[in-house]
Point group: C2
Amino acid sequence: MTGKRGGPDPTSSAIRLIGVEGVPEIRDGDDVASAVFAAQRRMGVPSEDGDIYVVAQKIVSKSEGMRVKLDSFTPSAFSSQLAAHIRKDPREVEVILRESRSIIRARLGILITETRHGLVCANAGVDRSNLPGVGEALLLPRDPDRSAARIRKGIEKLSGRAHAVIISDTFGRPWREGQVDFAIGVSGISCFRDYRRTDDAYGREMKATNIAQVDELAAAAELIMGKARSIPAVLVKGYTFSVGHGSKRLMRRIARDLFR
Amino acid sequence: MTGKRGGPDPTSSAIRLIGVEGVPEIRDGDDVASAVFAAQRRMGVPSEDGDIYVVAQKIVSKSEGMRVKLDSFTPSAFSSQLAAHIRKDPREVEVILRESRSIIRARLGILITETRHGLVCANAGVDRSNLPGVGEALLLPRDPDRSAARIRKGIEKLSGRAHAVIISDTFGRPWREGQVDFAIGVSGISCFRDYRRTDDAYGREMKATNIAQVDELAAAAELIMGKARSIPAVLVKGYTFSVGHGSKRLMRRIARDLFR
């Protein structure tokens, strides 16, 4: 059984990732939980306790009205200067800085900031692709953990089962080329599988291993979502986990961070 | 069909991850391909074209005799000084530096270096957990891409099918707490799903998206491997990909890196 009472060690030896196909274009005010659950039901995929839904940030943001028109932002003097320096659209820089707490790096075409949520990522997560309108941008949800909780409760109400929801977004990484998906909102699953107080296979305490399981689940789901396809949600079956809520513990405090 | 001729966009809408159980303890000189394939056969899991094997670095290193005794390393003056400064075992620091090209960060208990292979990671990938002997450490394979190619060819010979092999290891990340698995050796699959010359769902060119699919596959497989269990290999079925070889393109060149 796909239980939710697992210790740090998974008992899962087989996991299925199922793309939820046929979710319609999501618009401001749409209910993501209903849209995903209806599509899943049309596919004939049953709901079970412990199913994890990984949902793309993009549809969550769209449902929460986070699409903005760049023309409605007047760049500050600082944004204009920075935009000229790194050769970006000054309106886009203005939006990014309004979504940010601090600038981590600014170089030609690249702006890495810490968002209001505490995420460190390119362009504060502001996205200009996969939007029907030209001159538009999509911001991250205001509170991705709250979005995840709302979607989880919505699906649970429809399915009558206990689930977890992870909202995923695409991240670049220092030192490594290419991007992967990680978690930005979490509800119903602990961020980590923590081995720090357990023994290794030879009975010695493991010191540093604290697996960011929600990031691995987000990465796994991206394999199905792709980028240009219409699969904005992936159902993960067969993974055992402990219940937890919120993504804040994923964000490293500055005092513990060697790279800012 | 799980083909290998996919374009950048995956056609996979369902993926199965199957832990290969019953792989015996791997020792110096053992053949990883045979051990994994024999265990898979005992489980009754069939081989298909396009199956991806994610294999834990640990068993690859063990099979290649990369276990070392710390006592056989005499710390240099530099290693001793650095070890005192960051409060690590001087013999361990000596081993780590011998495996490294450069030091990225050194702080209390933490040593992040660039390995001889070009990987940036903690302790140059030198691992002291999950080893039967006290005072031992396990180094990364000399050439993880070559190891991946050898294991792939070995399994292909046994199965008569075309496969991909990814060797995975556990990485910490700047800005985010917890660790995830990424790829350190790759054979038979392209590192990336590259969208940079394709259009988004609205017909506009996507600029930056170049998904590190082998890292996502490694992360997904870790969900099954766990850390203290004896599942050192995971079979991924149903993922469509382009063929490629080697992991070097995953390593960001210093000139393109904002964080060293």
